[in-house]
């Protein structure tokens, strides 16, 4: 039988990671704040339906992503890199990693389509397995792996020294 979940404990345990996720998804502190509020606003009244407390984190992340997608559903994201253009970024040779500027990283993420951005964020800063990322996005794990590989190549290329002024790839 599932243990009762305390709402305050749930907030304390997850608000930071949810905020970071929201920030990286949307690229704006104000939007991230709103998204986290909206996420808990939707989740807490339905807390009783969460049977397994261990799944709370994945559940909250899914709610946040859905809230984000709902917000941008009708928004034209002309600056996004379409998925088919990500193939132009070959895997770079292993090299000593440069320090990554968070703002540069965010700019690169902002240019990425959400279907590539979400697995990338989940891969890098939360302890989600590929399987859990696939569950979050309702995708086969192979699709997630493929998108991750392409998005990581893109990201490495964008973050490599000398690529700061690179334009977007031709569509």
């Amino acid at each position: 039988m599932a243990a009762a979940i305390d709402a305050h404990a749930l907030i304390d345990a997850h608000y930071r990671s949810l905020y970071r996720y929201a920030y990286r998804l949307g690229g704006s502190a104000a939007d991230a704040d709103d998204l986290v509020q909206e996420t808990f606003g939707k989740a807490l009244p339905r807390l009783a339906t969460l049977r397994e407390p261990a799944h709370a984190k994945a559940w909250l992340f899914r709610i946040l992503r859905n809230a984000y997608l709902h917000r941008v559903r009708d928004e034209k994201r002309n600056r996004c890199v379409p998925g088919e253009n990500l193939d132009g970024y070959a895997a770079p040779e292993p090299a000593p990693p440069p320090a990554v500027d968070p703002a540069t990283l965010q700019a690169a993420l902002d240019d990425l389509d959400e279907t590539f951005r979400t697995p990338l964020i989940l891969f890098y800063f939360e302890d989600f397995s590929y399987r859990e990322i696939a569950d979050q996005m309702d995708l086969p794990i192979g699709t997630v792996m493929s998108r991750l590989a392409r998005a990581k190549n893109y990201l490495r290329a964008k973050l490599s020294p000398g690529n700061e002024t690179d334009g977007l790839p031709a569509r």
């Binding site: 930071r16 905020y19 704040d33 986290v36 606003g41 009244p45 968070p102 990283l105 890098y124 800063f125």
Partner: protein, 237 residues
């Protein structure tokens, strides 16, 4: 395991993170990495790159008051939820009361004056017979504790007795002498303390317990002659 196979498995290998490799593949990969400097070096470089990007990904300052604001919103949300629930219940209760009122209004019986007159007419014409029929109908014949003269009956039916509709028989004898015979169930009234006696200067009460059918009968009568309500010698009523 060769290097191309190891490269493939490395896609699933995340040091320090949940892995999607089955234990056998993970063990084989670990063995290959221990023996292959090239693959181990590639993994080390990739891990370092991932660590650098991961550190930057995590470098998001979280507002210090966010937790307090979320909890404050939660309290507000719960208050509103409680109010909404209360309003819903009040609305549901109002609807139920209205529905019950409508049900009662539409299903209450129409007063049948013809039946009323017919009953009274039969009682007037043959009070003894009517009362006897009524007793039979309600299986009270054996519960009658005395040989009452049923020809004196002027009422046989239910009478409100301190809030409970109660089977009752009224007998009217000469000289304004009246007796009410009540048939009582223990479930309707608490009968433990009641006793026979003269309760006012005009009214005496007799209590008969443990009658057939579990009935208790109470007879409240006026006048000094209880025998006035009983059948006389040789009576056949």
């Amino acid at each position: 395991m060769d290097c191309p196979h190891a490269s493939l498995l490395l896609l699933f290998h995340r040091p320090g993170r949940p892995s999607d490799l089955v234990p056998a593949d993970a063990a084989a990969l670990d063995a290959h990495l221990a023996a292959c400097p090239a693959c181990a070096g590639a993994l080390a470089a990739r891990t370092a790159q991932d660590a650098a990007v991961g550190a930057a990904m995590n470098a998001v300052p979280v507002p210090v008051d966010l937790s307090d604001r979320l909890k404050s919103n939660l309290a507000s949300q719960l208050r509103w939820a409680w109010r909404r629930t209360a309003v819903k219940f009040a609305l549901a209760a109002s609807l139920l009361v209205a529905a019950y009122g409508a049900f009662v209004a539409y299903t209450r019986p129409v007063l049948d004056l013809a039946a009323l007159a017919d009953h009274q007419d039969r009682l007037w014409q043959a009070p003894g017979l009517t009362a006897a029929d009524w007793l039979t109908e309600h299986r009270l014949t054996d519960a009658l504790p005395e040989a009452f003269d049923l020809r004196l009956a002027t009422f046989a039916g239910r009478r409100d007795l301190q809030g409970v509709p109660t089977l009752a028989l009224r007998l009217d004898a000469n000289g304004r002498q009246t007796a009410w015979v009540y048939f009582l169930r223990p479930a309707d009234h608490n009968l433990r303390e009641i006793a026979t006696g003269q309760y006012t200067s005009n009214v005496a009460v007799r209590v008969y317990r443990d009658l057939p059918g579990g009935w208790t009968v109470v007879v409240a009568y006026t006048g000094n002659h209880f025998n006035a309500f009983l059948r006389g010698p040789g009576s056949d009523a």
